[in-house]
């Protein structure tokens, strides 16, 4: 073969390859929060070796990309929660294909017709909603359709320093921590704890914080059967039930049963240093705290670490506020190849939900929840109950992150004494309703 023929053959082959759709990678724009951890997991495709939210999600996407060379994944990591950016992207018609969205935020975008219903896509890859846990299905369903592939459910938990609980005499005969069953019992146990250990019962991040206050309020309103969002456009916070909750947390604050000036990071550091008995934090720290408890010399290693759902303090429904993470898909014109690639991506995450559940979040799939390997993960026996206890706000309530800020600000003002409780609750209700009235 002459050099000229060889050259022409090469050019022809390259042209055919470039023109053939089967050789062109389908490109997907994926946008997520959970941070960047490229130094540790940037190239890792062995998901079992990854730890933490960032490590596991980075490794999962790497693995998907490695398994599917015909699909090119462009990942953009955004600052948590990334909704300012996402809204701007939708406004400029440049939204990513697949994006992480909280279940509580799905309505904001779905109600404006910006998200694609996933029912058909999921069906084509063999996923049906009866595979989801009840909480995941409820969180991802809007107007009867699925608008996000649920990957977990999360909630706040009682993270317990067992060494301090033993010192305080708050341990049952079976070795489990003695948790309160009423607001009065909570205050009594907190007093006993303080007397015996000289430390506050709670480690709370009350500085620069709104979410914790709000989640606490929602949980104990649920437990009193307070239907504060009976009308999704009109909240009712100025109620006797809300007053009970706020006054309970105010008493905890006033009597020194809690740390006071810590932000989120400070509260974690304080709990790990053994500065208090119970930290109110989410499912996502279970793995880290468990690892600490296994390390000799740490505060949690002395007497152990335990973790439980919020105790039932009121006689109403057994419930606590929960939310979840989903992969949502923006509504736009796509080729069948792109839609198929999205389906593959979502199926991959559904199939690997166990790996994601190692973060501490609860699985979104019944099969994983009921699997032996999930149950074998540390502390899942005590926290699995949140799969049935977990309750989101009604899906029709929009702007839940903005509402969270208002509720948290007002509750913080009441708890820390900057406002009388009644005034704070009245302001909370009027501010939230003003927001909802302007949607």
């Amino acid at each position: 073969m002459t050099l000229r023929k060889l050259f022409l053959a090469t050019i022809s082959a390259a042209t055919v390859m470039m023109a053939s759709p089967s050789f062109a990678a389908t490109e997907l724009q994926v946008q997520r929060f959970f941070g960047a951890c490229d130094a540790d997991f940037g190239k890792n495709t062995d998901v079992t070796k990854a730890v933490g939210e960032c490590g596991i999600i980075t490794s999962l996407i790497n693995k998907f990309a490695a398994d599917n060379p015909d699909i090119k994944i462009n990942v953009t990591t955004v600052e948590w929660p990334g909704y300012d950016q996402l809204t701007a992207q939708f406004a400029s018609g440049d939204a990513p294909d697949i994006v992480t969205i909280h279940e509580s935020v799905l309505s904001d975008y779905q109600s404006k017709g910006l998200l694609m219903p996933l029912d058909d896509v999921l069906k084509t890859v063999g996923l049906t909603t009866d595979q989801f846990t009840g909480a995941a299905k409820e969180g991802a369903t809007k107007d009867g359709k699925i608008y996000g592939l649920p990957i977990d459910n999360w909630t706040m938990l009682y993270h317990v320093n067992m060494d301090l609980f033993k010192q305080a005499g708050l341990v049952n005969a079976d070795g489990t921590p003695m948790l309160p069953k009423s607001p009065e019992e909570l205050l009594a146990q907190a007093e006993q704890f303080k007397q015996k250990t000289g430390k506050p019962y709670f480690v709370q991040n009350l500085a620069n914080e709104t979410a914790l206050f709000t989640r606490n309020l929602y949980t104990y309103l649920f437990q009193q059967n307070s239907d504060f969002f009976a009308d999704p456009k009109k909240a009712k916070f100025n109620t006797p039930e809300a007053k009970k909750v706020v006054e309970m947390y105010k008493a905890i604050f006033d009597k020194g049963y809690t740390t006071k000036n810590l932000d989120y990071g400070g509260a974690i550091n304080a709990f790990l240093a053994g500065e208090g008995g119970v930290q109110l934090n989410g499912t996502w720290v279970v793995g880290d705290y468990n690892a600490q408890s296994e390390k000799a010399g740490t505060a949690l290693n002395k007497g152990g670490y335990a973790v439980y759902p919020y105790p039932q303090l009121f006689s109403g429904a057994k419930a606590q506020y929960a939310d979840g993470h989903t992969w949502a898909v923006s509504k736009k014109d796509r080729s069948p190849e792109q839609t198929a690639a999205i389906g593959k991506f979502l199926k991959f995450f559904a199939d690997n939900d166990f790996e994601w559940s190692r973060t501490g979040h609860l699985p979104a799939y019944k099969a994983v929840m009921e699997s032996a390997k999930f149950k074998a993960l540390p502390h899942r026996d005590t926290i699995a109950a949140i799969a049935t206890l977990g309750k989101p706000l009604p899906s029709a309530v929009q702007r839940q992150f903005a509402i969270q800020d208002i509720v948290g600000e007002e509750m913080s003002a009441a708890v820390t004494g900057q406002k009388p409780v009644d005034k704070a609750l009245a302001d909370m209700e009027s501010r939230v309703n003003e927001l909802l009235a302007n949607l």
């Binding site: 130094a39 939210e53 948590w80 701007a88 440049d94 989120y264 550091n269 996502w284």
Partner: protein, 282 residues
């Protein structure tokens, strides 16, 4: 050093107290920077368990190695340099020309136009953000350098500063140059502009620093990772709980991010001090 000490020792008690206060204030100002550097030299896992470990050994340069090896910090720095540098250059050109026009040229509606420009100082960026975002969407300017640079060019402060500065320069200088047959542009370029260097430096520094530290507009305009500026890029690497996880790595990136500004400060220290003290506006 000895002569410095004797200088201090020879001072009055009041001066020494003042000197001590200045040192104290300097330490207060330098404290957070030193803390950032110290955090960047600590192992992330150690910091999570014990934040006080920052005050003792062991230290590590792993966070810097990771930053160089895996972070996008250099491309973010590059984008920030293009945006802040471009904005500074164009702002200086436009503000100087506008300032000269308002200070020296007589044209119909000059006073009204100047008042309109000044009104721009009273309009907060947030008030025009949505409209601007929409317009830039229509023009397809998001995720581009022009999209990040253009909004900052309409600098009411720059025009005001330069106008005041040009006004303070004696008109006799223009007249003398015109008598020597210099054109209007030549008077501006060769005679007056060199006299405004202190004001240019002041405006340039403020513009550069403002653009470098800007967060919100890049956040909603530069939504593609390859167009992230430094502020948006560093924020994107934070985990939900960055305060407790990966803080050393975050701080190492912050050190890289702060280095260019520090270098600029070292070179333009005199002008920055003058600018802050307001002495540049005569």
């Amino acid at each position: 050093m000895a002569s410095h000490n004797s200088e201090i020792i020879g001072r009055s008690f009041g001066d020494r107290v003042l000197f001590g206060l200045v040192i104290l204030l300097a330490l207060v100002m330098a404290g957070p920077v030193l803390y950032v550097i110290a955090l960047s030299l600590k192992d992330n896992k150690e910091l999570m368990v014990d934040p006080h470990s920052v005050f003792h050994m062991p230290y590590t340069i792993k966070n810097y190695i990771d930053t160089i090896g895996t972070s996008n910090v250099f491309s973010w720095v590059f984008n920030s340099i293009i945006v802040a540098g471009g904005l500074t250059v164009f702002t200086l050109i436009l503000s100087s020309l506008a300032g000269y026009g308002f200070a020296r040229l007589n044209f119909p509606g000059r006073a009204v136009l100047f008042v309109i420009v000044l009104l721009g100082l009273a309009v907060p960026e947030q008030a025009v953000l949505i409209a601007r975002h929409q317009i830039f969407s229509w023009l397809g300017l998001h995720n581009s350098y022009p999209g990040l640079i253009l909004p900052g060019l309409s600098s009411a402060f720059g025009v005001f500063l330069m106008t005041q500065y040009f006004r303070a320069i004696p008109k006799e200088l223009d007249e003398a140059a015109i008598l020597d047959n210099a054109s209007r542009f030549r008077v501006f370029w060769k005679v007056l502009l060199p006299l405004t260097v202190p004001a240019q430096a002041t405006l340039g520094i403020f513009t550069f620093l403002g653009a470098w530290n800007d967060y919100f507009w890049p956040l909603i305009s530069a939504t593609k990772k390859e167009m992230f500026t430094l502020t948006v890029g560093i924020a994107s690497t934070q985990m939900n709980f960055a305060q407790s996880q990966g803080i050393g790595f975050l701080m190492a990136q912050a050190v890289f991010a702060g280095a260019p500004i520090l270098i600029i400060y070292l070179f333009f220290q005199k002008y920055i001090v003058t600018a802050v003290s307001g002495a540049a506006v005569r």
